[in-house]
């Protein structure tokens, strides 16, 4: 590491010159930089921090606070520590090799960026809570289960309208959709809840074990509830337009906001770091109420299941449809809706570190025109 004892070399002065250039808003890559500068700090910031600041400068105008936070940040989690700049130090026989910051992987910059974003989220806190609504005693008693991305937002809207779930004689509505959509939804919900493995790892592991996430295994969910409340009080709902009537409201629900693929990946990474900054319950609340709305407002294509899992999903969807029919639950909507939706395989969208990093830079700069709250 380059400390005070090594500051007077030519390479060090060049590095400090680049730091000053970046602090002033410059975006010249390290490999093109030649001017020298005076040391300003305990040690040189790492190559990851400096390159992230350069990207921020190239994309917009970071404020002085963000500049200093970026330079003093550390990348959370496991991975290479703060790296030296290639050409700023003499090659040593030990320590990670110096790097050209322009050649760093997006993942290494993303680690620093998500650390900063997680700090912002923790500092922003939660939106103001609405006062509890008058609970309507004459409400239709219901429970919403199944696809979390369908059930959770509707339940939240019903609670806000004074219609909380549960109560005597509740009908259990198990909400579902195309199975490929539900798989994406299950992963999305996990990312904004307890955190989840990367999309490819998570999906590959599920496919290998032939294990659908429990919440979207509709026959299993329905069977569990049938055991608790009786077969006659369980319905499978595959037609979203039918939900208002089934829960006794006239007004349609605001459709759930989907988060673009890169937004989910960024949210997943923020979730991991946020777990190191705030207690578990607060993390969950921050992810749902502070992080997710801003990410859902970002443009970008939706995540889709890659074609290599199409056969698995088709087989499981057919099995699910037959199990639902055989069990004899009332079904609202067409059971064929459980089958995977037709996909243009040439346009399947997966998560990408490059996309997540670009989004992280936009959010740090506030270029999306939004704030956390």
């Amino acid at each position: 590491m380059t400390g005070p004892r090594d500051r007077d070399t030519l390479g060090q002065r060049r590095a400090w010159g680049w730091v000053a250039h970046l602090r002033a808003g410059g975006a010249t890559p390290w490999r093109d930089w030649t001017n020298e500068g005076e040391p300003r700090g305990r040690v040189l910031p790492g190559a990851q921090q400096l390159e992230l600041l350069r990207r921020l400068n190239a994309a917009g105008t970071p404020g002085p606070d963000l500049v200093e936070r970026t330079l003093s940040a550390s990348a959370p989690g496991r991975g290479r520590s703060d790296l030296e700049l290639l050409g700023a130090v003499e090659p040593l026989a030990f320590g990670p090799p110096p790097v050209d910051p322009g050649e760093l992987r997006d993942d290494e910059l993303l680690r620093v960026a998500t650390g900063l974003l997680a700090e912002d989220v923790a500092a922003a806190g939660l939106p103001e809570e609405h006062p509890p609504t008058f609970v309507r005693p004459w409400r239709t008693r219901y429970r919403l289960q199944g696809d979390p991305e369908l059930a959770d937002p509707i339940r939240a809207q019903l609670v806000a309208r004074g219609r909380p779930p549960g109560g005597r004689g509740s009908t259990v509505l198990v909400l579902g959709d195309h199975l490929d959509r539900m798989v994406v939804d299950a992963w999305t919900a996990g990312c904004f809840d307890e955190g989840a493995a990367a999309w490819g790892t998570w999906l590959g592991s599920r496919a290998r074990r032939d294990a659908l996430p429990p919440r979207i295994d509709l026959p299993h969910v329905a069977g569990t509830w049938a055991g608790r409340v009786g077969h006659g009080r369980v319905r499978i709902v595959l037609d979203p337009a039918a939900v208002p009537g089934l829960v006794g409201v006239r007004r349609a629900f605001i459709p759930p906001e989907s988060v673009p693929a890169d937004g989910i990946e960024l949210g997943r990474r923020i979730a991991t770091t946020l777990g190191l900054l705030v207690p578990r319950d607060r993390r969950r609340a921050l992810l749902r109420h502070t992080v997710r709305p801003r990410l859902a407002a970002q443009p970008g294509p939706r995540l889709a299941v890659p074609p290599e899992h199409a056969d698995w999903l088709q087989r499981r969807a057919v099995g699910m449809r037959e199990a639902v029919r055989a069990a004899g639950y009332p079904v609202q909507g067409d059971p064929d809706r459980l089958l995977p939706a037709p996909v243009d395989h040439g346009r399947v969208v997966v998560t990408s570190e490059t996309g997540a990093l670009a989004l992280a830079v936009r959010l740090l700069l506030g270029d999306d025109g939004k704030e956390w709250l």
Binding site: P4, P45, R80, G95
Partner: protein, 404 residues
């Protein structure tokens, strides 16, 4: 009186668990001698390190929020000597080191010493692979060796290994703001030496000489042999995707590895392959030259970094004796059976207690007065007036009756 902070930052597998156990169990006695070991639980400094470095650790990090600031605050408030010890601190980045030193009072009157206990790479390399395996890793020993010898070091395994093991680099990060006389290297003696020699070195550097400490260890990090490590790796491959981290830790790491398989001491020991020795010796020699140049305080002998010679009969954990692995597997099955039997007994006992509780509850429900009150409440709940009456009654009776 100058406030001193002794900051022990690593490295792993150098007797750190034993040291931390002794310090924790003797912390009250130490306090009486002006030595402060601020910990309310044995892993307090581990949690603080996770917090400082923002390291996820299989869910444990959720218990670590704010732990470093609490630890540093306790150190700043105390007088005399404070000791902080955890081996994963070795991997802290330079900005994290800066934050740590500042929070402990560096530049504000505190005299900070960094202590690093070090062991030869010949023993550290197999020990680190084994530690990875005990943390769910499935990679082969050969692949591990390839990754750590790759100069790019950009794999997760290699960056962690060198982050916690590369002595000159660790001291570069931790020692940049400190004069060399405040940086102390404790070398781990070679195998076969006096059993207390390492403790004597620790005792000397931490200023514990002459204190009547209880040195009986309760927590150590025992090592496994070749077939036992191979077995755990196979278990990881078979169970990782289905066994979540909160269950893995007590069942595989603690019950199987530490409590069961570590007792099989007659199996071949894990060692560095003979063909990797020359490379390890070259690395150790370059470290030694660098350490001598810097003038740190060495407690022990830098010759210890050379490590033992290659084994004449090396046992490959990637191709273990199947007979030995089967023997280890039988021991593992026996341990799991006994644990399952214990859990079944616990389950039966709890089920009995639950049944008794339910019966007692039912008896109270069957009392005529209870049934009458239940009927009245149900009727009142159906009407608006009744609800108001109930509300008023509950308010008069007090909060405790509302949830009844």
């Amino acid at each position: 009186m100058t406030k001193r902070v002794l900051l022990h930052v690593g490295t792993p597998k150098t007797g750190t668990s034993y040291l931390q156990d002794v310090l924790f169990r003797n912390r009250r006695m130490l306090a009486g001698h002006g030595i402060h070991y601020p910990a309310d639980r044995f892993d307090a400094h581990f949690l603080a390190a996770l917090d400082l470095m923002r390291l996820p650790w299989g869910g444990l990090e959720t218990e670590a929020v704010g732990a470093w600031d609490r630890l540093a605050g306790s150190v700043r408030r105390s007088r005399g000597t404070s000791i902080i010890s955890h081996e994963i601190l070795a991997t802290a980045s330079r900005s994290q080191v800066g934050r740590a030193l500042e929070s402990l009072g560096h530049g504000d009157g505190a005299e900070i010493h960094v202590i690093l206990s070090v062991r030869d790479l010949v023993r550290q390399i197999p020990a680190e692979w084994q530690e990875n395996v005990k943390h769910r890793a499935v990679l082969s020993y050969e692949r591990f060796l390839e990754q750590i010898q790759d100069p790019a070091r950009d794999s997760r395994i290699a960056s962690w290994f060198w982050g916690v093991q590369e002595v000159p680099d660790i001291l570069n990060r931790w020692g940049v703001d400190l004069p060399p006389e405040r940086i102390h290297l404790v070398t781990v003696p070679p195998p076969g030496g006096p059993p207390r020699l390492l403790w004597q070195r620790f005792s000397h550097v931490f200023g514990l000489d002459g204190l009547d400490l209880d040195l009986e260890a309760e927590r150590v990090n025992p090592s496994l042999g070749v077939p036992e490590t191979a077995l755990i790796r196979r278990i990881n491959r078979a169970a990782n995707t289905e066994l979540d981290p909160p269950s893995y830790r007590p069942l595989v790491r603690e019950l199987l590895a530490h409590q069961t398989l570590s007792r099989r001491t007659s199996s071949p020991r894990l060692a560095l392959p003979p063909h990797v020795h020359p490379w390890a010796q070259d690395v150790a020699a370059s470290w030694r030259t660098e350490i001598e140049k810097r003038g740190y305080d060495v407690v022990g002998d830098l010759d210890d970094l050379s490590g033992p010679p290659p084994l004449e009969k090396w046992s490959d954990p990637d191709q273990p004796s199947e007979k030995q692995v089967a023997g280890a597997a039988v021991d593992a099955i026996k341990a799991l059976l006994l644990e399952t039997a214990r859990l079944r007994q616990t389950e039966e006992r709890l089920a009995g207690e639950l049944r008794d509780t339910q019966l007692a509850l039912e008896r109270s429900y069957l009392r005529p007065t209870y049934r009458m009150r239940e009927k009245v409440v149900r009727r009142l709940q159906d009407g608006r007036t009744g609800q108001r009456l109930l509300k008023a009654y509950r308010r008069l009776r007090g909060r405790s009756s509302r949830s009844a």
